[in-house]
Amino acid sequence: MAKRESMTGNQVVAECMRQINPDVVAAYPITPSTEVMQIFAQSVADGLVDTELVTVESEHSAMSACIGASAAGGRVMTATSACGLALMWELLPVASALRLPIVMTVVNRALSAPINIHCDHSDSMGCRDAGWIQLYSENAQEAYHNIIQAAKICNREGVWLPVMVCVDGFIISHSIESVEMLEDDEVQRFVGEFKPRKPLLDVDNPVTYGALDLQDYYMEHKKQVDDAIQSSKSEILKVAEEFKKEFGYEYGLIDSYMMEDAEVAIVALNSTAGTSKYVVNMLRQEGIKAGVLKIRVFRPFPADEIREALKNVKAVAVLDRSSSYGTAGPLFLDIRSAMYEADSKPFITNYIYGLGGRDIGIDELRSIYEGLISSIKEGKPARTYNWIGVREKV
C-alpha cells in the first residue's frame, strides 16, 4: 500500500530511482539536481540497489556513459540541470537517434550569464529539438509519477526514445512536500523487467552502433525518430491508462483545470500551473470564468488536444519561463501555431516570467487574468509579447 512521506523533490526523485533500481546511473553534480545523485549514491553505497554508479568528470561524459550503457543493453538513468544539460547537448540527439531509452530528470534551472542557480526553463527548452520526449511535473508527486511512467514509456514497442522529466529547481527540488509513495514492489512490477532492443552485449547477434550515415540514409533515420516521437503520444496515454488502473492517478498529455466553461485561461508548465490553479479558485469565487491548461507532455507536442481544450476560450495567456530571444516564448510559439487551425481563435498573449527563479505570485497571475478579461471587454487583443515583473522605464 502507498504511504505518505514528507520529502523534498530531489529526495523523491532519488527514492524513485532506488525503487526502479536501474542497471547504470551516471552522476555528475550540478545545482539544483546535485542532491538527487547524492542521495541515490547513498543507496548504492548501502547496497539497496544493484546499480553501477559511474562518477564522471563532466555532464558531457555523463550522457556519453549513459549512451554507452544503454547501447550495451542496460536500464539507464541520470539527472542534471541547466549548464550541465547544455554541456550534454551534443549527445542528446545521439541518444534519441540511436533510439536509446534513457530516463533523465532535469531539475530546471536558468542558464548563465549572469550566473544564476534558480529555476527557469531555458535549459530544457534549449534542447526541445533533440528528439527527447519531455514530461513536465507540477509538483514532487507528479515528478515521482512521471519518472515511473517514463521508465516504461521509453522502452515501449515502437517508442525506444529517451525521456526527460522536468521538475522546477528549488521550488520543487528543495521544498518539502507530502508525497504518497508507492511500495518498492509495486513500482518494480509497474516498470517491469527491462528488455533491451539490440544490445551490444548480445554477442550472438552482433550490431554496430553509431555508424556513418551520409546523404543516402541520414534523413530516413531522422524521420524514424520523428515518426517514433509523434506516435509516442498514444503509448504515453496507454502507460497513463495502466498507471491509473494500477494506482488510481490520472494523467493525460494535458491537464485541464476548470476549462469546461472558461472564458479566460492561462497555459503553463510545471509548478506555475499549480499556483495558477490556486488563483483560478479565487477568481471562480468572484464569478470569473477562469481556467488553467497545464501542459504535461511538451514533446511530442499535443497540438490537437490543446486546440480542443482552448476552443471555447475567449482569451489565453501562455506563460513561458524562458524566451526564444528575438521572437517569443517557445511554448507560446507552439500554441499559437496550433491555434492557427482552430475554427474560432481566442486572443493569445505571451508572458515571459520567472527567469532566474524570480517569483511569480498570486498578484501577478491575477493581473494576467485581469488583462485577459479587459482585452475581451475591449474586443481587441492585448500586446502579444510581454515580460512580467521587469523593472523598466515607462
Partner: protein, 98 residues
C-alpha cells in the same frame, strides 16, 4: 543500387550484419577505369599489392583485372605497373557507358 526506404532500414542506423561493407559498392565514383593488356602483363602482381581498395582480381596467381564494383579509378595500379611494361592504361569511363 536501389536505396531502401525508412521502414526497411534498421532503427537508429544500427548495422545488424557483420562484414556487410562488401555490399556497399563504391565503384560509382569512377571517372577512369584500368584496362589490362594481358599480352604485355608479366604477372608481377605489383598492381595487386598497391591497389588501395583491394579490388585487383587474382585467380590461380594470375591477375584477371579489377573488380569494378569497388574500383574508384584512382590509377595507382597503372602508375605502379613497371615502366618497361605499362600493361595498364586508364580509360575514360564514359567510353564504356553505351
Amino acid at each position: 543500387m536501389t536505396l531502401k526506404n525508412k521502414e526497411e532500414l534498421p532503427l537508429g542506423g544500427l548495422i545488424e550484419e557483420a562484414g556487410n561493407a562488401a555490399e556497399y559498392e563504391t565503384g560509382g565514383w569512377r571517372t577512369f577505369r584500368p584496362v589490362w593488356d594481358f599480352e604485355k602483363c608479366i604477372q608481377c602482381l605489383t598492381c595487386w599489392i598497391y591497389c588501395p581498395d583491394s579490388c585487383i582480381i587474382v585467380e590461380d596467381e594470375k591477375v584477371k583485372g579489377a573488380d569494378l564494383r569497388f574500383c574508384k579509378g584512382c590509377g595507382v595500379c597503372a602508375n605502379e605497373c613497371p615502366p618497361k611494361i605499362r600493361a595498364i592504361t586508364m580509360e575514360e569511363e564514359v567510353k564504356f557507358k553505351k
